[in-house]
């Protein structure tokens, strides 16, 4: 049995559906990210797990026990908020010790555990500071220590790094990952930043319009997107239109390739710009015409049009000549790099 199971979790506000029948199983110690554009229901999902938002339908099973009927202050989860939500009238040590105090833990143990938590997040010596007198990154650490010191069953993070500048964000990302690894707390992170999700997570849950589009390891979700939405949301991608004969053959313009699983009729196929190559002379390929080319230092970025749709491709700056605007080209790719997109999931 998975550590955390979400079963048909649903929530709507008035007529607006925020989360629609969400299913997810998270293993113990896993780091899972909910990734999606703003308004896709990530925060609502997290707040339902935390208990701040009432569940319309579905259940939340933690170690097999349904959390839905448990009050939020009895769930014992650690939460880091986007704004940190530190108590401004308490010192760092008082902030961190608050959860322990609520659990009736005696003063001596409170002190040792607070110090441990401060050491864990690299805040030694800050015990008597007030949050207002700290930088964003330091406040972030206090929030993390406050959530972890209670040894939560789950750690929930809602866009925890979005208020930090780019450099600090990267630093905190690797630190967060390392802290999570060392204590092994099952963690769910909400983010709209694909790089953050890919850098931190064991698995990514891509969401759109309150539904799960795809669940998988970062490289799977990136390399083999299950829907046009996932393909376009994660990095740059080409979505090509073709037709399937229903017997494992898909034709894309001048190219015909073997692809199992497609019903006969029109299909969509995704391929990453960095996986497109020029076909060898005389070999089969997709005929296209270059529309523009932009030099970007390490590579060229070309756009082209073909019978299967517009294309973007990347060409490493390896000294070979690059076709100019208006030139005809023939493209090829490994069939394994192309993913067949799910029907009706176009984003």
């Amino acid at each position: 049995m998975s550590h955390l199971v979400l079963n048909g979790l649903s929530k709507s506000y008035g007529g607006v559906t925020a989360v629609q029948s969400l299913d997810l199983a998270v293993e113990r110690g896993e780091f899972v990210s909910l990734l999606g554009p703003s308004g896709c229901g990530k925060t609502t999902t997290l707040q339902m797990i935390a208990g701040f938002v009432a569940v319309d339908r579905g259940n939340i099973l933690l170690d097999g026990n349904d959390l839905v009927s448990v009050a939020p202050n009895k769930r014992g989860l650690g939460i880091v908020f986007q704004s940190y939500a530190l108590f401004p009238h308490m010192t760092v040590a008082q902030n961190i010790a608050f959860g322990l105090e609520m659990r009736g833990i005696d003063k001596a143990e409170r002190e040792t555990r607070t110090l441990e938590a401060m050491a864990l997040v690299g805040l030694k010596g800050f015990a008597d500071r007030y949050p207002r007198r700290m930088s964003g990154g330091q406040q972030q650490r206090v929030a993390l220590a406050r959530a972890l010191v209670i040894k939560p069953a789950l750690l929930l993070l809602d866009e925890p790094l979005s208020n930090l500048d780019a450099k600090l964000r990267e630093e905190m990302q690797s630190e967060l990952r390392q802290i999570q690894r060392s204590i092994g707390t099952t963690t769910i992170l909400v983010t709209h930043d694909q790089h953050e999700a890919m850098a931190l997570s064991d698995r990514i849950v891509v969401m759109n319009h309150g539904r799960v589009e795809q669940v998988g390891a970062p490289d799977t979700v990136y390399g083999r997107p299950a829907s046009a939405f996932v393909a376009s949301f994660l990095g740059k991608t080409n979505v090509l239109r073709g037709t399937s004969d229903g017997h494992g053959k898909v034709s894309l313009g001048s190219l015909s390739l073997a692809m199992a699983g497609a019903a006969s009729g029109p299909v969509q196929i995704a391929i990453r710009p960095e996986r497109l190559a020029f076909a060898a002379v005389g070999a089969a390929g997709l005929d296209a015409r270059v529309l523009s080319r932009v030099f970007q230092g390490t590579h060229w970025l070309l756009t082209a049009e073909s019978a299967a749709g517009a294309l973007t491709l990347m060409r490493h700056n390896d000294g070979h000549p690059v076709p100019a605007e208006g030139e005809a080209i023939r493209l090829s790719f490994a069939p394994a790099d192309a993913s067949l997109l799910r029907e009706g999931a176009a984003g």
Binding site: A50, P88, R132, I150
Partner: protein, 288 residues
């Protein structure tokens, strides 16, 4: 060069009109009032511009004045405490309402400020009189046999001042509630705190500055209120403001009235500045 000078002088020109108004309408009359309090006065000779301390000595030694000042500050303290007790929870509820309800209720809250003091106080007089609605209602419910005395009592003055001044408390507390992190209660909740603990340990300490600044406003307005005590308290039950008024317009002893008014002003300034200092010192590290 001349351009530089004139541009440096610009702020003075711009603030000039406001400064003149302030000087002419506030500072000079106040100065004259204080000066007046040191003048002599006699039943037949009227005001004599001779320096004397007799007005101040009279104000400080006559138990009649002491009683009135005591009553003034007793009323002000009771009103301040009551507006805190009612206003703080009300501001909290207001802050948690949906935006639509909030603007409707906010209008109700500041309603008393939109009605003229006299009209409002006369309304209260009708409600609180011995045959007024409140007494009739209480008698009809069988809660009391005889009508309660509200008119011409301190209780009546306190009730009316609470109504008039509570918007200031609610607005001050609401302003500080709006500065709270919207997730702060959820944060406390997730750490295992119950509603009472959240209130006492998380919300209240953060809005204390708002409550105290509301209290300072309410206290000074209550202590210097004139219309409400004049109508509800009548001739018999005087407070400092109505006392000064009577000295000026009934007894025509302007210097004594000026001494009463100056003392009220001094006491209020001392209390306001003192408590402000206290708040600032106490909360300086926590709040910018």
């Amino acid at each position: 060069m001349s351009l530089a000078i004139s541009s440096r002088a610009t702020p003075y020109y711009l603030t000039g009109p406001a400064l003149l108004v302030f000087l002419g309408l506030v500072i000079i009359p106040l100065g004259m009032t204080v000066l007046l309090s040191f003048y002599d006065w006699g039943q037949y000779k009227g005001i004599v511009p001779e320096f004397t301390l007799k007005n101040w000595i009279e104000v400080f030694t006559d138990s009649y004045f002491f009683e009135i000042f005591l009553r003034t500050f007793r009323i002000a303290i009771l009103v301040t405490l009551a507006t805190m007790l009612i206003g703080v929870p009300q501001a909290y509820i207001l802050n948690r309402m949906s935006p639509g309800w909030r603007s409707a209720i906010l209008l109700v809250v500041i309603g008393p400020l939109l009605v003229s003091v006299v009209a409002r106080t006369l309304g209260w007089a009708l409600l609180l009189g011995s045959t007024g609605l409140v007494n009739q209602g209480l008698i009809a419910l069988g809660l009391i046999a005889e009508p309660l005395a509200f008119m011409f009592t301190e209780t009546g003055i306190v009730i009316v001042l609470i109504h008039v001044l509570i918007p200031f408390m609610i607005l001050a507390v609401w302003a500080s509630l709006q500065r709270l992190d919207p997730q702060i209660e959820n944060a406390a909740l997730s750490l295992g705190a119950g509603q009472t603990t959240i209130w006492l340990r998380v919300i209240l300490p953060q809005i204390v500055p708002g409550i105290l600044s509301g209290a300072i406003i309410v206290f000074s307005l209550a202590a210097s209120a004139f219309a409400s005590p004049a109508i509800i308290g009548g001739r018999r039950l005087k407070v400092a403001a109505t006392l000064a008024y009577d000295e000026f317009l009934n007894t025509l002893n302007w210097p004594l009235g000026a001494a009463v008014a100056s003392l009220l002003l001094l006491a209020l300034v001392a209390i306001t500045v003192g408590s402000n200092r206290l708040i600032e010192r106490r909360y300086s590290q926590v709040f910018e």
